[in-house]
């Protein structure tokens, strides 16, 4: 009889673990992969160092005018000098504090949503959707509480983009839910109206919606009745986005098994109670990716208001670029605009992932 002798425990071969191992498996595993990896590194080498050099190393950060942009890199002086236009548009300088206050309030209410441990998340969320828009309206428009009125034609830049996006998002979601429910309704009139609405607004480009709202609507309205331009743009954006939102939500509603609504009915819950307590919570959770996608698209679509003469952040960058006092600054301007959009869109994307992870608890 032999006794059991354990074989010595050895470490794995050096070329299969650690950084070397990772490189071998992921980048250099087969000859064609080696070629691809080398080619990709070459492309990165062509693109990244020059960009880095242009944007940071050779860039000019401090100064007052075009003359100070002497090095060959990015002229960030342009951005810092025109930053007020990019953020506030034509808002009166004396009243900037009102916009600043709103930015601060937005940060205070929204940023805690990212932290799990924060106790007042739900309260802040509700405030953000109900009280904040009212405060924003009062502060931005003015006219009461001793605030100087600022007409909407003077709004512009990042502030205008955020107003358009925020109102669009907050209004399109409930409206979209109602349209989706209406489209699935058994009452033929309601269903026909909802289908007609959705197909109409989805069938035309947003730019033509804004154009028609701005240019053609006054032709149809009686003499002297003047509809605020910003309001027209907002209505157009909300109608348009609700149609898209409705279809995304309808997808979620269709995915809920029929047994759920049957069980709710059997318990005596009315249509609206079963929708609000049982079906919609499950359906909305399912379509978070689609809904956030629509929100992000909405945010970027707000740039189209340029066509009707409203100066959002992209339009204000463009107008600053054509200023003869600055030459050759288009790249810097567009990089800044792209960065501004990216910050907000990426935040929405991260928040949605957080929301999805949190709502997965339980099932």
């Amino acid at each position: 009889m032999s006794t059991f002798v354990s074989k010595p425990e050895l470490p794995p071969p050096a070329s299969t673990v650690g950084a070397v191992g990772w490189l071998r498996t992921n980048l250099f595993s087969t000859p064609s992969n080696v070629v691809l990896s080398v080619f990709s590194f070459y492309l990165l080498y062509l693109v990244i160092p020059p960009f880095f050099d242009w944007a940071f190393l050779s860039a000019d950060w401090a100064g007052t005018s075009q003359e100070d942009c002497t090095s060959g890199g990015a002229c960030w002086i342009f951005v810092s000098r025109r930053l007020e236009l990019f953020i506030y548009g034509f808002y009166p300088t004396k009243e900037y504090w009102r916009v600043d206050l709103l930015f601060a309030l937005l940060a205070v209410l929204f940023v805690p949503q990212f932290f799990d441990a924060f106790p007042y998340k739900k309260l802040f969320g509700i405030l953000l959707l109900t009280v904040y828009p009212v405060i924003a309206g009062v502060l931005l428009i003015g006219g009461i509480f001793g605030l100087v009125p600022v007409e909407t034609g003077k709004w512009g830049g990042l502030m205008l983009t955020l107003v358009l996006a925020f109102v669009g998002i907050v209004a399109a979601l409930p409206f979209g839910i109602l349209l989706a429910l209406g489209r699935r309704s058994e009452m033929p009139v309601i269903r026909a109206i909802c289908i007609g609405f959705i197909e109409l607004w989805r069938g035309v480009p947003l730019i033509s919606v804004l154009f028609m709202a701005s240019v053609m609507l006054p032709l149809f309205l009686p003499e002297g009745m003047n509809f605020n331009k910003l309001l027209r743009a907002l209505i157009g954006i909300v109608m348009f986005q609700s149609a898209y939102m409705a279809e995304v939500i309808r997808g979620g509603l269709q995915a809920i098994p029929k047994g759920q609504s049957e069980a709710a009915e059997a318990l005596g819950l009315s249509y609206w109670k079963s929708m609000g307590l049982i079906i919609l919570p499950q359906a909305l959770k399912l379509v978070i990716p689609g809904v956030v996608n629509t929100f992000i698209a909405l945010f970027k679509d707000t740039t189209l208001v340029l066509i009707i003469g409203l100066f959002d952040v992209l339009a204000s960058v463009q107008s600053a670029i054509t200023d003869p006092a600055w030459r050759n600054v288009s790249t810097e301007g567009y990089v800044f605009a792209a960065l501004a959009f990216w910050v907000f869109c990426f935040s929405m994307s991260r928040y949605s992932q957080k929301l999805e992870r949190r709502l997965h608890t339980g099932h």
Binding site: G259, A263, E265, L267, G268, K273, L277, Q282, K285, G362
Partner: protein, 256 residues
């Protein structure tokens, strides 16, 4: 197990009365001239081959399906298109489904308290107390704060029973409650149903569990092709079937 055949005292008010009910799915005549009277406290088992319309018939009783001809009366109220009447009837009629249909985004306790709070307007504390009482009755009080996805099939169906009982219904409908369960779980659910029967609940049960029928039913109804073919008390039904179709069905299900 002793057989429970005590008949409830009969009166003018049937718990459920169906008169010459007909139903079509589009052009297909799924229920033909159904007539049935159920007394309060009676236990009816409905059996038959698939497609015979058994589930459709009981789903007509709480208006999950609509009938096109004939009359259905539940607890004296007629089932019509009147939403208020329908809601009233649904409060008095509980239903169990083959696939449980628990609400996955709510805990077991919340599943049970939802309807009492929102339909009967019972305050939360009271609803929770009653829910715990019924969860104890179905022998799973410790699962109150779990989500349905964390429970086994038998536990889920028992939660579904507790959820229906929390609305204090007068009539319970069972649509093949054990068909999606394995044999051990079938027993735990049937035990609860037998207790319900012993407590005097009016039950209409579509099932393939003939043992349950023999133990608890006052009447067994056999349906085929949308019609009621035969109805009788269990002993007579199983040992002395009158109709050929019934004989054929019984020979198929009792011989293996």
């Amino acid at each position: 197990m002793s057989e429970i055949h005590t008949k409830a005292p009969s009166g003018e008010n049937w718990a459920v009365e169906i008169q010459d009910m007909n139903k079509w799915y589009g052009g297909f005549h799924v229920l033909r001239d159904i007539s049935l009277q159920v007394e309060s406290g009676e236990r009816i088992v409905i059996c038959g081959p698939s497609g015979s319309g058994k589930s459709t018939m009981i789903r007509c009783i709480n208006r999950l399906e609509e009938h096109q001809a004939g009359h259905i009366f539940v607890d004296g109220m007629e089932l019509t298109n009147d939403i208020k009447k329908i809601d009233e009837i649904r409060r008095e009629v509980g239903m169990l489904f083959q696939h449980f249909n628990l609400f996955p985004h709510l805990t077991v306790l919340q599943n049970c308290t939802l309807a009492p709070m929102w339909v009967r307007k019972i305050p939360k504390q009271e609803a929770e107390k009653a829910a715990m009482k019924y969860l104890e009755r179905v022998k799973i009080p410790e699962q109150a704060n779990k989500f349905p996805g964390q429970l086994s099939g038998g536990q889920q169906q028992r939660v579904a029973i507790a959820r229906s009982l929390c609305m204090a219904p007068k009539i319970m409908l069972f649509d093949e409650p054990t068909s999606a369960l394995d044999p051990e779980m079938i027993k735990e659910v049937l035990d609860v149903m037998v207790e319900l029967a012993e407590d005097g609940m009016t039950m209409l049960c579509v099932t393939h569990e003939m043992g349950f029928a023999k133990t608890v039913a006052n009447r067994v109804i056999f349906m085929a092709e949308g019609q009621i073919v035969e109805e009788n008390e269990p002993h007579e039904f199983f040992n002395n079937p009158q109709n050929d179709r019934t004989k054929l069905f019984l020979s198929q299900i009792l011989n293996h």
